[in-house]
Amino acid sequence: MRKKKQAQKIVFKSEKDVPLMAMSTGTMLHNKTGAWRNIKPVIDLDNCIQCGICWKFCPDVSIFVEDELPVIDYDYCKGCGICAEECPTKCIAMVEEEK
């Protein structure tokens, strides 16, 4: 199950809001890296053998497991193509992003 975490932009209105030293107070989840891609992976779940390899090799933690099947989080998937390349049954296709 994918845990939902805080995804907000942080804005400091004055120096009083800024911490004493550069210290993080939020995640990068506000940064939807899905906007980077030109091609996107599409999984053919009928032929998926649930091996977990696509989940394992995603550098962007953009494949998660739901109901025992891999799901791509298109908000963050950068379209690198590793999942499609490594899939043993070749059931992931890289398709052009619709404009």
Binding site: K5, M28, K32, P59, C80
Partner: protein, 307 residues
């Protein structure tokens, strides 16, 4: 939909790394971190010097990792970690693992002095070098980890890198630290096992992780894992462990050592190489492999691990 069969994951499902980070498409360094975090868990502090990861993590006030990070000065990864460890122990925390997480630049070059001193003292830190074989963060300049033959912006094609890759594992072995291991993101379960093993050992532990960089190697992003497997299968980056600088254990044995040509072909940084140069490289790989095998064999003959 197949819901009866369970999905088999070879690694724990929990993630300590979040999406939205700034790594290039197909970045090997990100996978190194992702697997390492799965093995180490929450009770860990990272000291990250200037390197790709100091940027990948995200700018202030954000961080894409759910663990504390001390962004430290470039030369200081190892000794910053020593300082953090000493500080934590003095304030009563003896459980948290302190990790120095640096690229090849911060390990082989500018950081080697501090690293050597930390190893010589056997300070209780876990040092991880993720090796993408050049100063990638500043735009692909050569490091002493850049292999012979590679193009980088400071070793252009007409004057490609003519010195071999520095053997950092041999240097670390000379310090006689409890644990050294090489790993590749092409073999995540092996990396995971080693990270877990290293976590439990006291003293200086050194992990050298091979992490392909499509941007710097001019390879396709989707080939990152393939490269990380090929480099092991052709013995360019053998996967082994060294304990106390003496006992060598080969983790991934090669039934059939592949030639390096296919590996070189899919990386633009090697495109300019002639047959003669490739033959030289093959010869070097072969000799280093033989040397490693003899170290492994002579280790097996010894019963005890000498200190």
């Amino acid at each position: 939909m197949k819901k009866e069969k369970k999905m088999t994951l070879s690694l724990p499902e929990e993630e300590l790394m979040n999406s939205g980070h700034l790594a290039c498409q197909g970045c090997g360094a990100t996978l190194a971190m992702r697997y390492f975090l799965k093995a180490l868990g929450q009770k860990v502090v990272f000291c990250i010097p200037a390197c790709c990861w100091s940027i990948i993590d995200g700018p202030f006030p954000y961080s894409s990792l759910d663990v504390p990070i001390f962004h430290c000065a470039f030369e200081t990864a190892a000794v910053s970690a020593s300082g953090v460890k000493a500080g934590l122990e003095m304030v009563g925390d003896t459980e948290t693992t302190v990790v120095a997480w640096a690229g090849d630049g911060g390990t082989f070059d500018i950081g080697i002095q501090a690293l050597s001193a930390v190893a010589e003292r056997n300070d209780d830190i876990l040092y991880v070098c993720y090796d993408n074989e050049a100063y990638m963060n500043t735009g692909i300049q050569r490091s002493s980890a850049t292999p012979y033959g590679a193009w980088t912006t400071t070793t252009p094609v007409k004057h490609f890198k003519e010195r071999p890759k520095k053997d950092i594992d041999a240097i670390m072995a000379a310090h006689r630290i409890p644990y050294i291991a090489t790993a590749s993101i092409g073999y995540p379960e092996d990396l995971f096992r080693k990270a877990k093993k290293a976590k439990e050992i006291k003293g200086t532990r050194f992990l050298h992780i091979y992490a392909p960089c499509p941007t710097g190697w001019k390879s396709r992003p989707e080939d990152t894992i393939r490269l990380a497997r090929m480099v092991v299968q052709n013995a360019t980056f053998p996967i082994y462990e060294i304990e106390w600088g003496e006992k060598y254990t080969l983790n991934i044995k090669l039934k059939e050592k592949k030639p390096i040509n296919d590996y070189l072909k899919i990386q633009g940084r090697f495109r300019h190489l002639t047959g003669k140069e490739i033959a030289l490289m093959q010869d070097e790989v072969d000799r280093k492999w033989e040397r490693l095998l003899s170290l492994v064999n002579s280790s097996r003959e010894k019963d005890q691990i000498p200190r």
